[in-house]
C-alpha cells in the first residue's frame, strides 16, 4: 500500500507540469499583447510599451517565458505584471477570506446536505422525500448571483440584519472571528445552498444502497430495531463515500467563489483570479491554477488514503 501511495505522489509531478503547461499555453497563446491591456493608453508611448514588454520578458520565445516563469515561481519571486508584487504574497493576502468562506460552505453544505439526504433515505418516495428533493433542487437551480442579490436586498438593505458586503468592518483589520462572521453569513448561505442539493442527493442514494444490503437485512432479521440498524450500520457505512465527495467539490466551490466574492466585494482568491484574467496578469492566473490544482490533487490523495484506511473492504490493487 505504501508503494501505491508513493506511486501516486510521484505521479503528481508530471500532472502538475501538465497543468502548468496547459494554464500557461491557454493564456499565452491567445492573440493580443498583454502590455496593451496593462498600460494606460493616455500615458504610455510606443517606446514605453516596448520597454515594458522587455521588462516583463514578453519579448522572449514562449517556451523560454514559460521556463523562466516556472523558475521564478519555484524560487518564490514571481511577480505580478500589474502590481509588481510577489504573486505568492498576493495569494497569501487573499487566502484567509476564501479559506474561511470555503470552510464555512463545506461545513454547512455537507452537514445540512447529509441530514436532508438521510431524512429522504429513511422515508423514500414519501411526501417528505419529494418535498425535500424539491427544495434542495430549487436551491441548486437558482443562479448564484440572483440568489446573492436577493439575499442582500432582503437581509441587508430592507431588514438591516447583516452587512451588505466586505469581509469585516471597514475600519478594522485582522481576522477577529466575531467581526468577520456576520460578513460571511450571506456568502456562505449562497454557496451552501448550491452544495446542499448535491450532497443530499449523494447521501440519499448512498444510504438507500447501503440499507438494501445483505448485512443490514441480516441485522434486521436478527431482530435489531430499525433505529439501531439505521444508526449503527447504515449511517456509518453510507456516509463514508459522501465524505470522499468533499475533495471533488473543492474546484467547483472555488468556481462559485468567483461570483460570490465579486458580488459581496470579498477580497478573496476567486476575485483575484477574475481581475487577473481580465487584465491578463499571467503570472497570477498561472499561480492560482497551480495552487488550486495542488490542493485538489493532495485532497484527492488524502481522501483515497483515508478511504482505504477507513474501509477495510476496499483493497488496493484488486
Amino acid at each position: 500500500m505504501s508503494r501505491h501511495i508513493l506511486r501516486r505522489i510521484i505521479l503528481l509531478i508530471p500532472m502538475l507540469i501538465g497543468i502548468s503547461i496547459m494554464s500557461y499555453g491557454i493564456i499565452r497563446l491567445a492573440p493580443g499583447d498583454p502590455t496593451r491591456m496593462l498600460a494606460d493608453p493616455e500615458m504610455l508611448t510606443t517606446e514605453q510599451m516596448e520597454a515594458l514588454r522587455v521588462q516583463l520578458g514578453l519579448d522572449q520565445p514562449i517556451q523560454i517565458q514559460y521556463l523562466r516563469t516556472m523558475q521564478s515561481l519555484l524560487t518564490g519571486d514571481l511577480l505580478s505584471f500589474k502590481t509588481r508584487q510577489p504573486v505568492m504574497e498576493m495569494i497569501a493576502e487573499r487566502l484567509p477570506t476564501t479559506a474561511g468562506l470555503t470552510a464555512g460552505v463545506l461545513i454547512v453544505g455537507f452537514s445540512l446536505g447529509m441530514v436532508v439526504g438521510v431524512l429522504q433515505a429513511l422515508r423514500p418516495s414519501t411526501r417528505l422525500d419529494e418535498a425535500l428533493t424539491f427544495f434542495s433542487l430549487f436551491g441548486f437551480a437558482v443562479p448564484t448571483f440572483w440568489l446573492a442579490l436577493m439575499l442582500i436586498l432582503i437581509f441587508s438593505v430592507r431588514l438591516g440584519w447583516l452587512p451588505t458586503s466586505g469581509i469585516r468592518p471597514t475600519n478594522t483589520a485582522g481576522w477577529d472571528p466575531l467581526a468577520v462572521a456576520p460578513y460571511l453569513v450571506l456568502p456562505t448561505i449562497v454557496l451552501a445552498t448550491n452544495l446542499l442539493a448535491i450532497v443530499a442527493r449523494y447521501t440519499r442514494s448512498s444510504m438507500l444502497e447501503t440499507m438494501g444490503q445483505d448485512y443490514l437485512r441480516t441485522a434486521r432479521a436478527k431482530g435489531l430495531s430499525e433505529r439501531v440498524v439505521t444508526v449503527r450500520h447504515a449511517l456509518r457505512n453510507s456516509l463514508l463515500p459522501v465524505i470522499t465527495l468533499l475533495g471533488a467539490q473543492i474546484p467547483y466551490l472555488l468556481g462559485g467563489t468567483v461570483a460570490v466574492e465579486t458580488i459581496f466585494a470579498l477580497p478573496g482568491i476567486g476575485r483575484l483570479a477574475l481581475d487577473s484574467v481580465i487584465s491578463r496578469d499571467y503570472p497570477v492566473i498561472l499561480t492560482i491554477n497551480l495552487f488550486v490544482a495542488v490542493l485538489v490533487l493532495i485532497g484527492n490523495l488524502l481522501a483515497d488514503i483515508a478511504y482505504v484506511l477507513a474501509d477495510p473492504r476496499v483493497r488496493l490493487g484488486e
Partner: protein
C-alpha cells in the same frame, strides 16, 4: 489502479465501489423498464412535461414571440408588465416576453449541444479506459485527474475572456471542459460490467473489441450515460448564467436566460420583472432536468429498483 483508488471524483452515487455482484446480464436486460413504468415515476413525469413544454416554446419561438426580441424602443424603457408587454420591458425598451421566448430557444440549444459534446467525448474515453485498461486507462485517467484538478470555472472564465464567447465557441468551451467527470462515471460503470459472463462469452466467440464495446458494453452503461447527460444539461444552463454575470456568457444582444437575468440585476430593486422572469425560467428548467435525471436513475438502475 482500480476504481477503488479514485473514489473521490465521481459524483454519481449510483457507482458504488463496494458492490461487486449485482446480478447477471439476464437480470439486467429484463430490468429495462417500459415507457409506462417510466412515466409512472412522478419525478420523470413532471420533469419530462416541463421540458417538453420548454422545448416546444423554443422550437416555436418565431411564431410565439409577439415582437422582435431585439427591437428597442428607448422611450419604453423599464416598463412594468402590461397588456402591451405582458412581462414588461428591459433597460433598452425591449419586450421581455419576446426575449424570454427566444432566450429559451438559445439557452436550451446551447446547453443541449454542449452536453452532447461532453457526453460523446466522455463516453468514448470512459469506455476505452474502462474496457481496455492498462496504459490507455492510465493515460486517460491521469488526464481526467489533471483536468478535474483545474478550477473549472476559472478555466472557463479565462478561455472565454481571452478567446471570446460567440455562440459556437461558448458551446465548444462548455462542452470540452466537463468531459472528465462523465468519462470517470462511465468508466466506473464499464469496470463493473467488464468481467461479466456475457462479455466473456462474446470475447470467446471471437467478437472484436469494437464490436463488444458497441453491442455489449455500451447498452449496459447506457442508463448511466442518460442520467449523466440529463444532469449535465442542467449544469451547463447554470454555468452559462454564471458566465453571463461577468459579461462572459453568450454575447448580447442574443438573448439567453443568463444574460437577461444578469443585465437586469441592477434593477432588481426598482424593476424586478427584468431578472425575475428569466430567473424563473432557469430555475424551472434546471429543476425539471434534475427531477428527470433523478427519476431516470431510480428507474434505470437495477440496484435501486423496487425501492
Amino acid at each position: 489502479m482500480t476504481q477503488a483508488t479514485a473514489p473521490s471524483s465521481t459524483m454519481a452515487p449510483a457507482v458504488n465501489r463496494t458492490r461487486v455482484n449485482w446480478g447477471d446480464a439476464q437480470r439486467k436486460r429484463s430490468a429495462i423498464p417500459t415507457w409506462r413504468r417510466l412515466l409512472g415515476n412522478r419525478r420523470i413525469a413532471i420533469g419530462a412535461a416541463v421540458l417538453i413544454t420548454m422545448y416546444l416554446i423554443g422550437l416555436l419561438a418565431p411564431w410565439l414571440s409577439p415582437a422582435d426580441p431585439n427591437a428597442q424602443i428607448l422611450l419604453n424603457r423599464l416598463r412594468p408588465p402590461s397588456t402591451a408587454h405582458p412581462l414588461g420591458t428591459d433597460s433598452l425598451g425591449r419586450d421581455i416576453l419576446s426575449r424570454a421566448i427566444w432566450a429559451t430557444r438559445i439557452s436550451l440549444s446551447v446547453s443541449l449541444v454542449a452536453m452532447l459534446i461532453t457526453i460523446c467525448v466522455g463516453s468514448i474515453l470512459g469506455l476505452l479506459a474502462g474496457f481496455l485498461g492498462g496504459a490507455v486507462d492510465m493515460v486517460i485517467m491521469r488526464l481526467t485527474d489533471m483536468l478535474m484538478a483545474f478550477p473549472i470555472f476559472i478555466l472557463l472564465i479565462t478561455i472565454v475572456a481571452i478567446y471570446g464567447s460567440g455562440l459556437g465557441l461558448l458551446i465548444l468551451f462548455l462542452g470540452f471542459t466537463a468531459w472528465p467527470l462523465a468519462a470517470r462515471t462511465i468508466r466506473a460503470e464499464v469496470l463493473s460490467l467488464k468481467h461479466r459472463d456475457f462479455i466473456d462469452a462474446a470475447r470467446i466467440n471471437g467478437a472484436s473489441t469494437a464490436r463488444i464495446l458497441w453491442f455489449h458494453v455500451l447498452p449496459g452503461v447506457l442508463s448511466v450515460i442518460v442520467v449523466t447527460a440529463t444532469l449535465r444539461v442542467a449544469t451547463v444552463i447554470l454555468i452559462e448564467s454564471g458566465l453571463s454575470y461577468f459579461g462572459l456568457g453568450v454575447t448580447p444582444p442574443t438573448p439567453t436566460w443568463g444574460n437577461m437575468a444578469s443585465e437586469g440585476r441592477l434593477y432588481l430593486d426598482t424593476a424586478w420583472w427584468i431578472t425575475t422572469f428569466p430567473g424563473v425560467l432557469i430555475v424551472i428548467t434546471v429543476l425539471a432536468y434534475n427531477l428527470l435525471g433523478d427519476g431516470l436513475r431510480d428507474e434505470l438502475d437495477p440496484r435501486r429498483r423496487g425501492r
